[in-house]
Amino acid sequence: MARNGQSGALLLRYVLKRLLWAAVVLVLVSFFAFLVIQLPPGDFLDSYVEQLSRSGMGVDSATLVSLRHAYGLDRPMVVQYWEWVTRFMHGDMGVSLLYVRRVNDIILERLPWTLLITTTSMLLMYAISIPVGIYAARHQYSLGDFAASLVGFVGMATPGFLLALVMMWLAYLAFGMSLGGLQSPQFMQQAWSWAKLKDLLWHLPVPLFVVSIAGMANLIRTMRATLLDELGKPYVTTARAKGLKESVLIRRYPVRAALNPIISSGGWLLAELFSGETVAGIVLGLPTIGPVMYRALLAEDMYLAASCVMVMSILTVIGFLVSDIVLAFTDPRIRLS
């Protein structure tokens, strides 16, 4: 009883420590993100002005100066950063000059899709990799082992942008599916219905495949390798000698132990997933945050770009946190370190 309470307290302390650290990281990331966005010279107005000048309606430099002043783009970077960060803490992410909308609205529209793709991809990855890894470990060097590894490997080794384009094209050839986006244009204008849901489900496989395949190979490999390690250990031989059924044996201890490195790498996986999702999002035209962030970075639409970066970082940090906490939960040794 007392031991449980003690380990419970340790867990709590650990969680709090990690939360505090997460907050510090986010503050540092916010400053760094803002800095990095301002790194390329020029600012958003240069693109706005370019639009005007392309039609021959020139903007002279005096007007440019006043526009810059009107939008507050001539203030020192630290001041602009401070204003953004304080607004951000209050939940106001500023305004996007590119989309002419509040950044909150833009992100709120896109966040559900990002979460959908990311969580579904992760679930898919785990749901497929773990059983496949177990199978591959148990039937080492078999055809199934080889086949599973091969698909995973080719998926991992092919650059994501090319894979996305090829898969999209194949889906079009096979099913006549419209390219780009998660829904056909006809359905986007309509309210939710069964037909619309079906359309969405038809469009999901390609993005999910592209986003998850890269990490899947590594997961399968890790699962397979660590499970093989565990299976080689003395306690397994003992259990076998004692007559424990193979399937029960595998499930009880070795798999649980092999899951440790998988879980602990959850945070990294999420980080990789986000960058892979950005590339896939651009190539496939997904309604996720990635393409918006990319556009905003190109146009140096400061608030939108910085907010997108922050949101992605927050999600990544949450991912790290969750994996750390889950690991601490399952492996008591971690709490003590």
Binding site: D46, Q51, V100, R101, M188, G285
Partner: protein
């Protein structure tokens, strides 16, 4: 689509919605109402293929960009010396929310927006000659007059371009814009802050919007923007649009334009090739995909042409800060040499199937003061002459004859900064090789347009490139709007221009012949007679040609277009360009679907 609303009493019947004398747009075939057009854009409110069709102004040009005709104003009176222009708005013309569009809107716009010191501290951008502004006055509810201090013929050209498009660049729906203006709405600041902006004029400036009307902002074009999300924009028919077909049916036929936001250029091309849009331009480098996919994607390909004088022209920075480079770029022989070095035949055959014109970058040959010698000036492919001229320009070969040396004895390298354009990027690779063969090493740096703009405004570029549009008669006369203007787009002589524009207060004093040129251009815009217009126009453009400030490659390229099967009233052959305001010349308001229900 509107019938139910009329029946329900929400909307007046069509006779009351149209002006007394609606504009008659001749449609090839009388169309059926209904359906949706599909298009795509890079960001919400960004340019898309059909967007030129959204604007409507006082007057318009014909498809070749040569003749000016009345549009939303049924008559424009001009006085003897072209200093007073009286515009008669069609009586009964209304904004898309039913409110009359009157001279009051124009006056309100001029007095409270253009001449508002907070929004435009330096004063309005246009409607001024030298340092004096035009005067706007209202003669009666439907008539307004613009009076210039001197002759100003270009006002007619402006009235036929987007510069006088109601609701975007000229005239605003005063009843709607007042809510954003601090002088008329004490809560304007608060409203702006609620929407994320710092102050009322920031938000007001956003509401002005170039070309793409803001959501539910009253508009005069065939469609107005009804909804906008980060993934798509929806434009719906304007019930008060002032055009009818020859049988009196109100246009447009098509109810809706659905524009999907597709951030990636390559995906846009792929979507066009697989029939995701109703109409789209084909990239020549991908043309085989379009032709092969036509059946599966259910579209046909029409052969249009581009009206650009040059698909890509290069301009060197004559005001470069480095004196050595400045001397070289200012040497006419250097520019001539690089023009001679370009193998235009190869570009034409490889990229355009030999269908483009290998002419020097200049105005359209149909312009009234055109000089045919401008087409051939230094456009011949002649490496020997190029080499000789480069030798004379003071750029000797190095020992191994691999590249030329600058005056400092180092390899002469220059950077061409550009952003992704309509012309194929491969064209730049050809030019790079051509120039490398005469010893000039070039780095073609692609950037996004924002960065290019920034670098060029700072005057730090060696060379940049753009296409040569606005070469038709009407467009070429828009004041200071030509691509040959030294301070915009090609930025080839910004400091000289600033000196002239600010009367010597800033910038660098140009050489006499350039001062003369700027004076000549100003005088051209003030020409009093047709004869003077032609004489000065010829002189202005002769100077630009002889100075070879813009080195062209090939122009008047073929432009295949994909049209979804079943879309009617699309021209079989058309020359499209800025001068005819791009999509405006397509007559999108007369498009209709064979089966409108199938394209909902």
């Amino acid at each position: 689509m509107l019938a139910e609303r009329v029946a329900a009493g929400e909307l007046p019947p069509v006779e009351q919605r149209l002006p007394k004398n609606p504009f008659v747009r001749h449609a090839r075939q009388i169309g059926k109402y209904g359906g949706t057009l599909y298009d795509q854009t890079g960001s919400p409110g960004g340019r898309f293929h059909l967007d030129g069709a959204l604007i409507a102004g006082a007057q318009e040009t014909d498809n070749d960009g040569e003749i000016i005709r009345p549009h939303l104003c049924d008559r424009v009176d001009v006085n003897q010396d072209y200093s007073e222009f009286t515009f008669h708005i069609r009586e009964g013309l209304k904004w898309s929310d039913g409110v009359d569009l009157t001279a009051d809107d124009v006056l309100w716009w001029w007095q409270n927006e253009q001449r508002n010191a907070v929004i435009y501290p330096e004063g309005p951008r246009t409607f001024k000659v030298g340092n004096d502004y035009a005067e706007f006055s209202k003669l009666d509810p439907w008539t307004f007059r613009i009076k210039f201090p001197t002759s100003f013929r270009p006002c007619l050209n402006m009235s036929a371009s987007e510069w006088m498009a109601f609701g975007s660049y000229f005239g605003q729906p005063a009843h709607w814009m007042k809510q954003f203006h601090a002088d008329f709405n004490p809560k304007a600041d608060e409203l702006a802050r609620q929407n994320g902006f710092g102050s009322w004029y920031q938000y007001y400036t956003m509401m002005m919007e170039y070309m793409h009307p803001h959501v539910n902002k009253p508009h005069v074009g065939p469609w107005f923007r009804a909804a906008s999300t980060t993934t798509h924009d929806i434009y719906e028919r304007n019930p008060y649009f002032a055009e009818v077909d020859q049988e009196g049916n109100q246009l447009p036929y098509i109810d809706r334009i659905y524009v999907q936001v597709v951030e990636d250029q390559k995906l846009q091309t792929a979507r066009r090739a697989t029939g995701a849009v109703s109409e789209g331009l084909c990239e020549m480098s991908q043309i085989s995909v379009f032709t092969r996919n036509a059946a599966r994607a259910d579209y046909n390909i029409k052969h249009w042409r581009l009206a650009n004088g040059s698909e890509c022209m290069f301009a060197f920075n004559l005001n470069h800060k480095d004196p050595v480079k400045r001397r070289i770029y200012n040497d006419l022989k250097f520019r001539q040499a690089l023009s001679y070095a370009i193998n235009r035949r190869r570009i034409n055959e490889t990229l355009y199937f030999g269908q483009a014109k290998e002419w020097q970058a200049t105005l359209s040959p149909k312009v009234s003061f055109f000089d045919p010698s401008w087409l051939e000036y230094c456009a011949r492919y002649d490496q020997d002459t190029a080499n000789r001229l480069l030798d004379e320009a003071g750029l000797p070969w190095d020992k191994e004859r691999r590249s030329r040396l600058g005056p400092d004895g180092q390899r002469f390298v220059l950077v061409v900064i550009y952003n992704q354009q309509a012309f194929p990027v491969e064209l730049l690779e050809f030019v790079r090789q051509d120039w490398a063969e005469v010893g000039v090493e070039v780095i073609m740096k692609e950037t996004d347009f924002r960065f290019r703009e920034w670098v060029c405004r700072a005057g730090d570029q060696d060379c940049t490139c753009w296409n040569a549009d606005m070469v038709e008669e009407v467009a070429a006369y828009l004041p200071w709007a030509t691509k040959w203007n030294p301070q915009e787009v090609l930025f080839y002589a910004r400091d000289w221009w600033l000196w002239y524009y600010n009367s010597g207060q800033s910038g660098i004093e140009p050489p006499q012949r350039w001062k003369d040129q700027f004076e000549r251009m100003a005088a051209w815009y003030r020409a009093k007679s047709v004869e003077e217009y032609r004489r000065l126009g010829h002189a202005v453009w002769d100077f630009f040609s002889r100075q070879l400030v813009c080195i062209g490659t090939v122009g008047y390229a073929p432009q295949p277009v994909v049209i979804k099967n079943g879309l009617r009233n699309v021209s079989d052959t058309l020359t499209i360009g800025y001068g005819s305001l791009w999509a405006k010349s397509y007559m999108v308001q007369t498009y209709y679907w064979d089966f409108p229900e199938g394209h909902g």
